[in-house]
């Protein structure tokens, strides 16, 4: 019998006229690994909720069709009975910690205590699941003191300890940095090898291509295709559904490499044909020649505590084409941009904006010259309407109401939210809220724009929007500086890249050269872009940044 059976599932959230899920049917067998792909509004999360009983029991709303877990139907059972059989892990690691437990060990026990598991069994299961998730070393720590990747593994352990028949992972790495994401993928792979039945919604297609037995492609609440990964990823119309295929498919498509028997593209390194000779024509992005503002940093030192410098003697001139800053967490990137924005005061050294030292001005005054877009939009949004939120900054720096409104509208259009101007920002998705925050800074029309992690949590369309925004700012003669973890995006978008490590710069120069610096990349714990790695693994000694550079 199937572990899970979904029959003609339809669902509408209360107060909504749109079907979040529209007539979906599929089954999952024991031990299968099922991937779910689709853009941000496709219904992936709602489907995960439906499989764990939260839809309809927690959300209410209108529900049609049936979901069976084994022989238990979801509609007539309570959430606690369902979650005993289906474990769900979702995006935000922080919110999955219950908050009522002071150590990782006790946190894992929370669900077991509620289920009434006998004490000795409880201890045994906690130990087993900690071992499986490789978090034994964290057992005495406070859950909230952990990194995102560690927290997410604790969340998985807490669910696994309840011994569900199926594990559902809803984009478990979308809010993690690359290192944390790798930690999580490693344990997911381990669980899959152990024969666990897993359903995972995910944006990182390379991972799904590697793990999944089958892929569900969702779009607008409908199930577009239920098939093998190579079948789904070989669809020529994949981009229309807001899904980007894995890098292997992209390259093969650029080169016209299909499997002659099946007509499908290869989805892994092993499947790549080696006989085909690849030609390259690297395209170097040319600077448009616009002059921008210039930031000069001289011998900059800064530490939050005495004697512990986070920034150690930085010298750099920032101007001209858009610049990417890469490097692992804790390298000092965010501290550096806060110094550029004068939110922090340097211990020694100076920063000049167009020749004038920043030390002679305050952060609030600088607001009209340098814009800084923080990682988390939730740290700034407080207005009831998107448009008012975007106008807050412009009005603060002395734009008139009309100017502010005009700028706000223009920028909302640029970030693709023109039709959401009157909505409540918190009714939008996190990815859209990030765009609101972007617009709210851009509307201040500053000469310098600094982004901290603009692509995190964005799907393919969101990322190409960010790329468009960066190009358009550059066209207008603004200096753009961008902190990034997404190397594929860096390769595709930026001409100049700075590698940051340990409060200093390991490299500053053209992006193509940056990704050739093996030693510097290793020290900064940054990986090459997927496409670059792939071309090298195929045996070519070239640094390739885009699929279009292949012939």
């Amino acid at each position: 019998m199937s572990v899970l059976r979904v029959v003609n599932l339809k669902y509408k959230y209360p107060d909504s006229h749109r079907f979040a899920l529209n007539d979906i049917s599929f089954t999952v067998e024991k031990g299968e690994f099922l991937g779910i792909v689709g853009m941000n509004t496709s219904g992936k999360t709602t489907l995960c909720y439906a499989l764990s009983g939260l839809v309809p029991h927690f959300f209410k709303g209108a529900y049609g069709g049936d979901v069976y877990i084994g022989d238990m139907d979801v509609l007539s059972h309570e959430i606690s009975e369902i979650t005993a059989k289906v474990g769900l892990v979702f995006e935000n690691p922080f919110l999955q910690m219950t908050g009522a437990k002071f150590t990782v060990y006790d946190e894992i026990a929370f669900g077991l205590e509620n289920q009434g598991v006998p004490r000795d069994v409880m201890h045994e299961r906690i130990r087993e699941s900690m071992k499986l998730l490789d978090i034994e070393g964290l057992q005495g720590k406070n859950p909230f003191s952990l990194s995102g990747g560690q927290m997410q593994r604790v969340a998985i352990a807490s669910v696994i300890a309840m011994q569900p028949d199926v594990l559902i992972l809803d984009e478990p790495t979308s809010q993690l940095d690359p290192e944390g994401a790798e930690e999580v993928f490693r344990v997911v792979e381990k669980l899959a090898d152990e024969g666990m039945t897993i359903i995972m919604a995910e944006q990182k297609m390379e991972k799904l291509a590697a793990y999944a037995d089958r892929i569900l492609l969702l779009y607008d609440g409908k199930l577009i295709e239920d098939g093998k990964p190579e079948e789904v990823f070989s669809r020529e119309d994949l981009n229309e559904f807001g899904v980007e295929p894995p890098v292997y498919v992209k390259i093969s498509r650029a080169l016209g490499l299909r499997n002659e028997m099946s007509g499908l593209y290869p989805i892994s390194l092993e499947q790549m044909p080696t006989e085909r000779d690849i030609q390259f024509h690297p395209v170097t992005k040319t600077n448009n020649g616009n002059t921008t503002s210039e930031l000069i940093v001289r011998d900059l030192h800064f530490g939050y505590e005495k004697g512990q410098d986070v920034i150690r003697g930085l010298n750099v001139t920032l101007s001209g084409e858009p610049i990417a800053i890469i490097g692992q967490n804790g390298a000092g990137k965010t501290t550096f941009v806060k110094l550029l924005k004068a939110l922090l005061k340097p211990d020694t050294g100076e920063i000049l904006l167009n020749g004038a030292p920043l030390s002679e001005t305050t952060a609030a005054k600088l607001a009209s010259r340098i814009g800084l877009i923080f990682q988390n939009p939730n740290d700034q949004i407080f207005k009831h309407k998107v448009i008012d939120e975007v106008m807050f900054g412009p009005l603060n720096i002395g734009q008139t109401g009309e100017e502010a409104l005009a700028n706000a509208k223009e920028m909302l259009a640029l970030v693709g939210l023109a039709d959401k101007a009157d909505e409540n920002p918190y009714d939008l998705s996190l990815a859209e809220r990030k765009m609101v925050a972007v617009a709210s800074i851009l509307a201040m029309d500053t000469d310098v724009v600094i982004f901290d992690e603009p692509t995190m949590g964005q799907d393919v369309r969101g990322k190409s929007k960010v790329q468009e925004i960066i190009h358009s700012l550059h066209e207008k003669g603004k200096l753009v500086i961008c902190i990034l973890h997404d190397m594929d995006f860096v390769a595709d978008t930026f001409g100049r890249t700075i590698i940051f490590s340990n409060g200093g710069m390991l490299f500053d120069g053209p992006t193509r050269e940056a990704f050739a610096q093996e030693e510097a990349l290793r020290l900064a714990r940054v990986e090459q872009p997927n496409i670059t790695k792939l071309v090298q693994r195929l045996g070519y000694d070239r640094i390739i940044l885009r699929a279009t550079e292949l012939i």
Binding site: K10, K12, P14, D15, P56, H57, F58, K60, G61, A62, Y63, G64, G65, L75, G99, K383, H384, N424, P425, Y426, D427
Partner: protein, 200 residues
């Protein structure tokens, strides 16, 4: 929101999760007020918001938990005022349910009423525990002046509480009202949601 049963003791999980969040909001309101050197406490925004969202009983629980936790972590004297906070939650919840948060004017009235009732509840506590003072400089100065003019202790103590509580609660309720009006649909829905599952 009218369908919601005001006195239901069947709390949803969301209501239980709301309580710590509301206590945190109280705490931060107080923190920001002191960082910005505002002459008010503004330490009940969470309590008032919780009662607007989830009804008087949840509001009252927030009030009690707030002072118990504050007593446990900062100032044991605040245990005494747990009752006052509970009543603030209760009154705000009942009046919100009866429509006293439909516009700014009504919200101000709600603030005044909450302030008055807070003072009525605090006065016997103040008299019982410390013969009528409150520890607030302005209020106690008025208290002393009234005693010097030989007014009765209870009246002086009540006046002491009124001058402190009413302005503070008006501001608190007004800010809560502004925030409440701006809450996203998905939050309001979650707390209104006594709805049934509609079968398609």
């Amino acid at each position: 929101m009218k369908k919601k049963r005001m006195w239901s003791l069947q709390f949803s999980t969301a209501a239980f999760v709301l309580i710590p969040a509301a206590v945190g909001i109280n705490f931060l309101g107080k923190l920001f007020a002191s960082v910005l050197k505002l002459p008010l406490w503004v330490d009940a925004i969470g309590t008032v918001l919780a009662s607007m969202l989830a009804g008087p009983i949840v509001g009252a629980i927030v009030g009690v938990v707030n002072n118990v936790v504050y007593g446990f972590t900062t100032d044991p004297v605040s245990f005494v005022y747990a009752i006052t906070q509970a009543v603030i939650g209760l009154v705000a919840g009942i009046m919100a349910y009866r429509g006293w948060i439909s516009n700014v004017g009504k919200a101000i009235v709600l603030g005044v009423v909450v302030g008055f009732i807070a003072a009525i509840v605090s006065t016997p506590l103040n008299i019982m525990f410390w013969e009528g003072t409150t520890g607030n400089v302005w209020g106690d100065a008025l208290f002393a002046t009234m005693l010097a003019k030989d007014m009765p202790l209870w009246l002086a103590s009540f006046a002491d509480s009124i001058v402190v509580d009413v302005p503070d609660k008006v501001v608190t309720v007004l800010l809560s009202f502004l925030i409440f009006k701006g809450l996203p649909k998905n939050v309001k829905l979650m707390y209104d949601n006594q709805g049934e599952i509609e079968r398609l």
